[in-house]
Symmetry: C2
Subunit: 153 residues, 2 copies
């Protein structure tokens, strides 16, 4: 799961941090969800974002992928709700349109634009760049001043 | 979500409690997951089960149902993992076979057998009866002495 934190004030965006959370497929599911939940809770406790932006669950064609996505999303939403963060969800096309200008942009275009808008991020990991894109979309669309966490399962 | 708690010692089963957790579809998803998580955590704190038995996620044909199932399961698994419970998963057919004797039993047969095996439960709600069936299956299959929570999303 990729994550990113930015600060914004009007149109001014500042990169705070980003990363990718991985879990060991050999570990029991409940343990993996707990590790993921504690990692997100630790990021929230350390960086103190005021809101969480998350990609709307695309309804995958594969039910097994949808089940896994649901599990990962629940853990992030729960950590955010427990910390009292405001939560906003954005459709993938909405994010692309907000960051690149077109709703059907390629992933590489989104990532290039994230690196341009947040030059100090030097983000490499695709999942983290996508999370930062979600955060940028929220900043563009909400237009107020806030520190923001975004996560992408 | 149905839930049930039983105690067992060898082949002797005792009903402890059961119930159904409902959430308001008008409430925001993260808030609903938090309410569900806190309800399960409160049941664990009060009744102090040593293990959680949960139905294996059947891979629904409907990806949207799978996503919701994944979200509900994650919240329960997380509450159990945080409380240090042992976690066991059983396939639906495995539960039916263990409780009724055949893997393709009808739901009403399962529920009738739960009421026979746990006469003091007087369980009416189908989801709670299914959760108790999952707990009974675990008791039959593990054969040791324990107090057990089962949940069914």
């Amino acid at each position: 799961m990729g994550w990113g934190v930015i600060e914004f004030s009007g149109t001014r965006l500042t990169h705070v941090a980003h990363g990718v959370l991985r879990s060991d497929a050999k570990t029991q599911l409940a343990e993996r969800l707990l590790i993921l939940h504690e990692a997100i809770a630790a990021i929230i406790a350390e960086l103190r974002p005021e809101a969480l932006a998350i990609e709307q669950a695309f309804v995958a064609k594969d039910p097994s992928a949808a089940l896994k996505l649901g599990q990962a999303r629940a853990v992030v939403l729960l950590a955010a709700a427990r910390a009292g963060l405001a939560i906003a969800e954005y459709a993938p096309n909405h994010i692309k349109k907000s960051v690149v200008g077109v709703g059907h942009a390629e992933k590489v275009q989104v990532q290039a634009m994230v690196r341009r808008l947040l030059p100090t991020s030097q983000v490499e990991a695709a999942d983290a760049a996508d999370a930062l894109a979600c955060a940028i979309a929220h900043a563009h669309l909400s237009g107020t001043r806030a520190k923001l966490l975004a996560a992408l399962a």
